[in-house]
């Protein structure tokens, strides 16, 4: 199982804060591409976190069982 979380304006856009999908040994970049298509996301509008860490290059990462992915719009704390 893979968990995908959405925050802020992305959760508003996807109308979803969290979804789960069956595990597949995809590259993270492939998953993100699928989500962009599914929700028509602007790639400039978010960063991707894997298991609570920002991912610099999602090409390099292959998903593991029980990974948690998060799509994060610009931060606005403070």
């Amino acid at each position: 199982m893979i968990t995908i979380k959405y925050f802020g304006m992305l959760a508003e856009h996807t109308k979803c804060t969290e979804e789960q999908m069956d595990f597949k040994a995809l590259k993270l970049s492939e998953l993100v591409q699928d989500l962009k298509v599914k929700y028509q996301l602007n790639p400039a509008s978010f960063h991707v976190a894997l298991n609570h860490k920002l991912v610099q290059d999602s090409e390099d990462v292959t998903l593991q069982f029980q990974d948690e992915i998060a799509l994060l719009p610009p931060f606005a704390g403070g």
Partner: protein
């Protein structure tokens, strides 16, 4: 890494702040405290006025980030104590949403430490803010210019 309480549901009250200050009065090695408080501004944006900001966070990631930030700040600055609190939920204009509190034997490092903590939390911690206007429309706040 130890995860301390960071998120507070609703605004940070002045009495929460005075309680935090009072708790440090038993530490007789402390000579100076520096406190930052973030207050929600009633900004005017294209003719509309911000009435509140509704904050959400990716809490698990945020707590890990803040634990790392704390660890690094204790290595960088000569501090006795450090506390970081941020509100979640709807915080009205004039209410406090962010509280950074550092204490040290001498005051030398405390201003730079507070400034560092405030800026790095804004930059690195996954907190999101929906600016709600007086007419109930909204826009998403962003710390990136």
């Amino acid at each position: 890494m130890k995860k301390k309480t960071v998120f507070i549901e609703g605004p940070i009250s002045p009495s929460f702040i005075s309680d935090s200050i009072a708790k440090h009065q038993s530490k007789h090695s402390i000579g100076g405290h520096n406190i930052f408080l973030g207050q929600v501004r009633a900004d005017e944006i294209e003719g509309k006025t911000v009435a509140a900001i509704d904050f959400t966070a990716y809490e698990d990631m945020a707590l890990e980030q803040i634990a790392e930030i704390r660890e690094k700040a204790f290595k960088t600055f000569d501090l006795t104590c450090m506390h970081i609190y941020h509100s979640l939920g709807k915080i009205k204009a004039g209410e406090l949403c962010f509280f950074v509190f550092v204490s040290a034997k001498h005051s030398k490092d405390i201003y730079a430490a507070t400034e560092y903590l405030v800026n790095i939390v804004k930059k690195k911690v996954p907190i999101f803010g929906k600016e709600i206007f007086e007419d109930d429309t909204h826009q998403w706040k962003t710390n990136i210019k």
